[in-house]
Amino acid sequence: MDASEATAVLARAREGDSDAFRVLVEQHSRSVFRLAYRMTGNEQDAEDVVQESFLRAYRQLGRFESRANFGTWLYRIAANCSVDLMRAKQARHDMTRAESLDETGEHLSADTPTPERLAVSDEIQRRVAHALDALSPLERAAFTLRHYEGRSIDEISRTLDLGVSAAKHSVFRAVKKLRVALEPLRSHQL
């Protein structure tokens, strides 16, 4: 779809044409899923984020400025939906999570992995996933955008609607927590 077609589709969607909105959904679903999966680390959660993002987009389409890029706008919606979903999950499982974090800490220090086990990338991935799960929703979102999505601190602040300083410190806190959580892996890799 060239730029003029995309503009026309967007204009129709803004007027409430659901067929035009369908074109946008079909065009952007995969990129939204990819971001949502990186943010949440869970397939079902990512699917929920995709659904919610498009619903929000449809609801807010009237507020979208046609000069802006729809993909960028949707990206922001998806990032914020991911944060909201992670916050909701965190609120539901706060107690459980606190317990599991304690267990994780013990597990990482007591059950020191052997070099052979460390060689297994599945094990590394599992631990990395666990470490990411231990971050707060905002820290995880900021880290994902910086580390996996290659977004600058300025872009992160705009995407998550934060001040630049808050965005920066979310990334710093995330990196600091990951360094602590993954220390056993790192020391065996050295």
């Binding site: 007027e15 409430g16 044409d17 659901s18 369908r22 959904v25 079909e26 065009q27 952007h28 679903s29 995969r30 899923f33 990819r34 999966y37 990186r38 680390g41 397939e43 995709v50 659904q51 498009f54 619903l55 449809y58 609801r59 009237g62 590394i124 991935q125 990395v128 996933a129 910086r146 580390h147 996996y148 600058s152 601190i153 920066k168 990334v171 710093f172 990196v175 600091k176 990951l178 360094r179 993954l182 892996l185 790192r186 890799q189 050295l190």
Partner: protein
């Protein structure tokens, strides 16, 4: 230069932050900072992007289908068919409010006035509806009393005795018959054949199907709406397939049609509607309402 902070080194790793050249020089000469930086790079080096589950080209369409099933989206979809808030803005801009609606300061006031107008219109419409409803109920009851001794079938019989409804039932049955032919063609199409004719046909049917389905939903004809919904999804699949269809794509289409038992449902519903369109005299009518497709 003093030692680097964690924050400075993190930003440096990501290619951001000020004093980048100075930090680079400092790392060459300061062992503690170099060790700290190595710790950060080692940690972040472990953070490879997760393997994402694969989503194929059909994924966007699947998301769209899920959205259509979402009751929150359905509301918007119906709403937008009537132009969303556009008509309300027009009401707000009408007459004396027109000059205010254009200016940002009074846009809210104009919209509020539009909303007030909406409330008044809704009240009047509701009043008129109730009045006509009472009248039509009286007519229907009178008609039922004269037509049947079974109170459970009053409304159904009233609708069956309405020639307009019977014509509409026949239209839906015809629509299902035509759809059945397209589905049968697709089920029997050879691999790598050109299905553009069937796609054109399916596209025409799709438009009609949507209208019938909406009417069925409005009339609480859930079984008719469900079959039309299934049909619509499969027609969309057909319309969006490549015209020269590969064996794999064709197989996928057939599997979807099979999985939904669509041909069977379409045939059964078509037969059912044909039975219902017959005049009520001489036999008992099915329990389901037929004040449906209008």
């Amino acid at each position: 230069m003093t030692h680097c902070t964690d924050e400075e080194l993190t930003l440096y790793y990501y290619g951001e932050g000020r004093r980048r050249a100075a930090i680079a020089r400092h790392l060459d000469t300061c062992a503690p900072c170099a060790a700290l930086y190595r710790e950060i790079t080692d940690t972040l080096g472990l953070m490879a992007a997760p393997d994402e589950p694969v989503r194929d080209d059909q994924y966007g369409f699947e998301v769209w289908r899920r959205l259509q099933k979402d009751h929150r989206f359905e509301g918007f979809e119906r709403f937008s068919r009537f132009g969303g808030f556009e008509w309300l803005r027009r009401v707000a801009a009408f007459g004396t409010f027109e000059r205010f609606a254009g200016s940002g300061r009074f846009a809210g006031l104009a919209t509020a006035a539009g909303l007030a107008a909406l409330v008044v219109v809704a009240f009047l419409a509701g009043h008129a509806w109730r009045t006509s409803d009472v009248a039509s109920t009286n007519v229907t009851n009178a008609s039922n009393q004269s037509n049947t001794s079974n109170p459970a079938n009053h409304s159904n019989l009233a609708n069956h005795s309405n020639p307009e409804n019977r014509i509409l039932l026949a239209s839906v049955a015809d629509h299902l018959d035509r759809s059945e032919r397209v589905l049968t063609d697709i089920m029997n199409a050879p691999a790598k054949s050109n299905i553009s004719m069937e796609q054109q046909w399916a596209e025409d049917l799709l438009q009609t199907s949507r209208l019938y389905r909406q009417d069925a939903v409005d009339a609480n004809e859930t079984s008719v709406a469900a079959v039309l919904d299934d049909l619509e999804r499969n027609l969309i699949e057909i319309v969006h397939s490549p015209s020269t269809i590969s064996a794999a794509d064709l197989e996928q289409l057939r599997r979807r049609i099979d999985a939904a038992a669509l041909l069977f449902k379409v045939r059964v519903m078509s037969d059912e509607l044909r039975r219902r369109e017959e005049p009520p005299a001489g036999r008992a009518l099915p329990q389901t309402s037929t004040r449906t497709i209008s």
